[in-house]
Symmetry: D3
Subunit: 333 residues, 6 copies
């Protein structure tokens, strides 16, 4: 299998993993294995989850360093244990492999997008029993990831659970497939149906009225943060998943870090006041991770270069990933 | 030649007021009109609200760059749409004009104060059907603004709704009309009655006991943040407004950004832990905007120079303004 | 000549302890007295509380400037009044003396630790009717402070109320008495019993499974932040204190500032997302301050060097101290 | 009503182009005229220089916010007078117009590049007697600007004077026309000859050996900073210009802000230690401005988002522009 | 009890004036004595220099926290020894006393200015044999300090040696006695003659042409930084002092920290590129300190709030003071 | 040999290297090989230089994160090519291996120090033909490194070339082997003679007079920065090396990053104004690298945690290493 993977447009990041001792206590960087340090046999075993970096941000509307997040994400691992004290579960019950980063072209954005689609299609084909997690990059990647997923499961209906401050329903005719367009891209390309999208967490003055109309026209479901808080985070996510599960075969979870409040997430190009708290997002993502139909996830629009030396947003993004993994681990029980 | 140039792929940069196209989607900088770009006829029409900058902070007790907020405020507009997703209202239903900044003298603070009073009196006389919003500047300006308002409506009773961590009841005999004195200034000058002040959001160790005694003596009503949270933000503000409305003709809303917690508002000279969250303040201000007797507003004590490159407090201050506008827009419905 | 100078419009700068005028309003730096400015008679009077700095952080696992907190703490005093508006109590009802900082050796950590123990034992012996508060420094100091306290009360049972994101139960055999070990240190040395420890506020992925096992083995009680929020902060702390009070003679409160969320406390070496808010911590500490058996307190692991120019964590740490003092003041009523 | 308002003590805020009063003292923002505020007659007059923004950085190899510099540049103008004290010349002797920014596409980089070329060609055709200055954006724009210039003067030989830490001779086959390729792009497209390039200021470990070989192969002239300092900045630039002037008809000056030392220019994506001081760059650019054959200029690779609140690099970039203008003004004498 | 406490391993924290032990090595905070810690006899002895804080910045044209510098200055002392390695002189050969800060009014700037004048007049009368050094505050204070000095020596001619990027010759009629006016203020009030001013270090685009004309009209001598560097810093200062000494009885040295380059002095409200390096300023000030007619000094326009946590400008400002003291100490030899 | 190395107290840092392709262009992270990625045969070959991390800073007098520099140093490699444009030399002519970091104990500083000595002794014994470079860590490590070196060459005389703002001659009796003591430690232990130390770059007020006396007593040679600049950096270093070479067998180069000016090196705990520029230090270190008797080097006291997101000091420290390597490479020619 390693041979097949090595044919995909994926390359090794210049960064490292520590070979796990598998003793009692592990840090996340000792738990997640790099495919480049494995032999054919090790690499070919079953993995519960497979992680891939998607380091692109030149498709972002505003200037963004989200391309740097995959590296910052991996570097943050050593600050986290594998044990989740809240749920009393050890993530080591899951096996996770890191296959590296999608190859990017510096000036041909559409080629980079094609690489993302090809890489995700190849990955989900080779690791057909694993949950793939993509670490962006800006939100434009979600369109390509879901298209690649659809290619792997052409006869299945895909639903989207989205945590976001924005609709991401901008018109592709204006500026092409930017980070403002992925949901519209997927609907207009026939990859998904608008009614199979649930967008949770929108608020304030950050969406133009034409996008609201577009959401209504396409039947996109959206629940503002105010309503989320009235119904409860867990309950809202469960209801959305329940509805989706009745209509689709697989659910894709996309987590735009700009859903968070600027006080919690300064390291996001378009961070805003009035957004979610991190504990709410962790609960939302964990709840999604529990659901058996949620089969893929991405984390996007986190720019480590705006995050100062303390790096609160990088830590939050890493925690989002681990909260989702906790859901996966609980599923197995 | 200008015609030929206009055929080139060159466009006007959007760093100042952008003449609105009045198409479907607008940013706030395209919605609010500058009076300096209007002709006599345009300028003379009815405006729902009129905005004025008050760039003074040399009257602040502690060193402050609050004088820079009007400029930062206007620059932040382009990061906000006119559509409020939570209330499903488009602010374009309101017309708003920006008349510029009050002229300030660099060393004669009392003259600057007089200018503020004269400007606000003139403004509220000329734009008698409009809601005026003043963007500070430090809190000393509120005394002059309300005095100017009183001059416009000499026979009416004015009430104050204040969101603040402090009483602002310091003795003017100590250091003159600083940002620690506006409420006392208004009471002692007979402009308002102490009992017609509601101060909401105080907390912690940030008021001397003599000021508490002063508040009691003058009958100033105050509700600590702890009590606000027990009763609900919306309910507390509604009750205060209800009580005030029974006693006064017009209510002035003054929003000191230091009411916010330091985690949400680092860009405030005297920011403190234990304060309000931004979502609470947005709800409070929106609720005030809904009330028919609330006829003027100011936002004070926001220092953009302490706000770093991410500018969370500048964004929060801008959102406060838009939350108030949302209340106004809902009033019309 | 000094007389003539004192007639000029010149005043003492307030950057160190200011001799209190005991007039109506006081800042905290005018209220807390430095023992070095007192004569024998003044120093020998009864003090309700006594404060000591413990400026060590070379015993911290990760690089830390927590040794700088005692100085930053004292400097922050002038930003706080003695009056607590929420509880309507004036801290001047308590008398507090600052005895200075424990002497530290730059390369002999065990000697520094011995000094901490000796200083605290001596202090609690001399000021036997006072509540001692120690300002760290990293968490390693808690082991030495409690040992010194035990020396003063050798026949009494001591309980620990801990606010922390971590267990601090690491094995001393690995790297000696670091800031990851104080609770284990105290249990294994027989100073306290594991069952007499209540750790409140843990969350997320910040404790290895071996430490959870160790906590269970030693019978350490722990309540995750999620559970705290379900039961209420006040209720959780009261219950823990109630249980402890039934088993021990004296309760030591240790407050590791890393219990706070990174958005509220960037100035902590190991700050994490998903932690406590400051208002929750203030309430927890205040509740502890109310309990008659809580007889000593420390604040640890606050690194002012990571706190930027706005210093939110330094202000929060100072507020924690004052919230505890408020509890003490309420006890007297 | 506008008349009455204009009698109030209110003034226009100076945060955008301020219509010049042409009195004795002017700030740069009052001196440079925006074409969008001019009528056909005003716009059609002769201008000594014409300025255009080129807000693109998605063609940058590393993540960059250089697209934000045109806006920051214009905002910095109000911090500078028109009078140069060192040379005792007032820039008002020159007339300068700002035509706005080149239109950019968000995902089609080649289309954006085409726009740059078309805009510059059109501009230099219409303003044939003016010196055009382009404000980037990343260094990829230089290739398109010079190509557009060549289109205006197809029968003339163009030379390049480059201040840079890098050769910018990367192979376009690798990643297309990034900011690492402009000089190679121009040579390989036949727009200029390698021997007509003078690159001044290179140093250290920031160029791969293959690029040095490429420079030698194409005959690109380069002078390291060490050698510049041995010969003198002024003398080096004069010699380079003298040599170039003997071979070409027009000289294009391109100033990559990464030529500066990281201590002087933190706001550059690839800033390095060991680079030029700002006073050296100002002298270099001024010297270039004096030469009659230097007919166009650009400033590139300045990222205001890394420049903190103090903005030293934005100020330096603005000064570079004014130093060049000083040279132009001296030419006229 | 104090005796027993003093036997514990506890020491006084060094965050305020530390009573000197007069042993072999001293930090600056142990060398400079606070007048408030001295008795009548100690205070009445001869002092070589006397230092006074002037914490005002509300007279600054742009928003400034220069009022905070006296406190930051004193706090920085503990980072400096008294021994100057370059000149091999120990500052302990001088005795220096700190008399505290001038009392300021928060809104009556003219009253604050009057206090500055009165305090300096009284000080220089009482400490007639001492060199007074004033620590600002913004540059407006220099006018009041020199007026106070003139009052002490009414029959003597005073000259000014100024290190500055600006002329400070703005018209007082525009905005009163701001930090842009002190030199004009002194000339127009007849306190000094224009020809007895030497301004050294001006550069770039930071002075309006009307100010240059004003300088010429009043006969103010000025030497740009470029010329300083051609002639040598030491030589330039010596020549200026030599010329001045032939015409005046006493020379006042005023050091505006904005003379420094922004790379060295970010903590200045109007910091600019192209300015002096710190080593040049230290040499300039030291050279001035050597001259027997230089009888007073001030340091102005340093805003610690823009100086980040590393505080390079605060350290530079402190070093400027010590460089001047070194000159004084060498004078005695 | 790998076996022997693996017995030393050295461990792999959790960080990676990219296996070099050895094509035409290499980044430094592709050029330096990690011993942990080599097999026995590869590891046993001759290496021109061997690099070791020494991550300790708890022996620093002031709070320091210098322990984090080895990791930051390795991460910075990818920003540098192997080709030095100034000297036209490619560092690939040298082979360099990274053996990892010395094992540290968290609370037993003397044990950590012993590990440093043992590791360096073992390393220089095994790699007897290689130049060892140690990356600190604080300056206390130099004493242990030179002692370990002496153990390898017990019969040879060792000289020290030191670039520093301080003497580092503090008395070990006061606080043990801190970063203020290494030179005294080496002299008093008889490892080196005081007369065989050349300290270059001292300046200002950063050394107590007792240390100057100590330097004189021990015959330590020191040259202030002012004198360095008079004689020329290169000339000064050459003269010092020439003198040393006449007296000793081997010269150890220790580079304390605090020798740099605070404007160039904010990321140093005790950074000061008035220090060296980076280009001067690069030249000094390069000159030392050229000399055949310079046989080992260290870089100390660089704290990446104070270096902000731009990391100028980390980049400067990495350049210092590469400048030294350039000298080595030139030696071979």
């Amino acid at each position: 299998m390693l041979n097949k993977i090595s044919e995909l447009p994926i390359e090794t990041p210049a960064f490292s993993w520590k070979k796990a001792v598998w003793g009692q206590d592990l840090k996340v960087n000792e738990w997640i294995q790099s495919i480049h340090h494995l032999n054919e046999e090790e690499g070919g075993k079953h993995w519960d989850a497979v992680m891939m970096g998607v380091p692109i941000s030149r498709s972002s509307i505003s200037a963004s360093g989200a391309s740097e997040f995959p590296e910052s994400f991996r570097r943050a691992w050593k600050g986290f244990n594998t044990y989740n004290l809240d749920e009393e579960v050890d993530l080591r019950e899951l096996s996770v492999v890191d296959v590296g980063d999608v190859k990017m072209h510096f000036t041909d954005i559409l080629l980079s997008h094609q690489n993302i689609k090809d890489a995700f299609h190849g990955l989900t084909k080779e690791f057909s029993g694993s949950i793939p997690v993509s670490i962006g990059g800006d939100h434009s990647i979600t369109a390509m990831l879901v298209k690649g997923w659809k290619e792997t499961y052409p006869n299945e209906e895909i639903g989207i659970l989205q945590f976001d401050t924005h609709f991401d329903l901008r018109d592709l005719k204006d500026h092409g497939p930017t980070n403002g367009t992925p949901i519209r891209n997927l609907i207009e390309s026939g990859t998904i149906k608008g009614e199979n999208v649930f967008n949770i967490g929108l608020h304030g003055f950050f969406n133009a009225p034409s996008l609201v109309e577009c959401a209504k026209e396409y039947g996109v479901n959206y629940i503002t943060l105010k309503k989320v808080r009235k119904n409860g985070v867990k309950e809202t996510v469960e209801q959305a998943l329940h509805t989706l599960a009745g209509k689709v075969d697989r659910i894709y979870l996309t987590c735009d870090m700009d859903v968070l409040d600027i006080a919690y997430a300064p390291g996001v190009p378009a961070s805003t006041p009035g957004g979610m708290r991190t504990d709410e997002l962790f609960e939302a993502v964990y709840t999604a991770g529990l659901h058996p139909k949620v089969g893929a996830m991405d984390i996007v629009c986190l720019d480590p270069m705006r995050d100062g030396v303390v790096q609160p947003t990088v830590k939050a993004g890493t925690h989002v990933f681990l909260s989702f993994m906790t859901g996966l681990a609980m599923r197995k029980k």
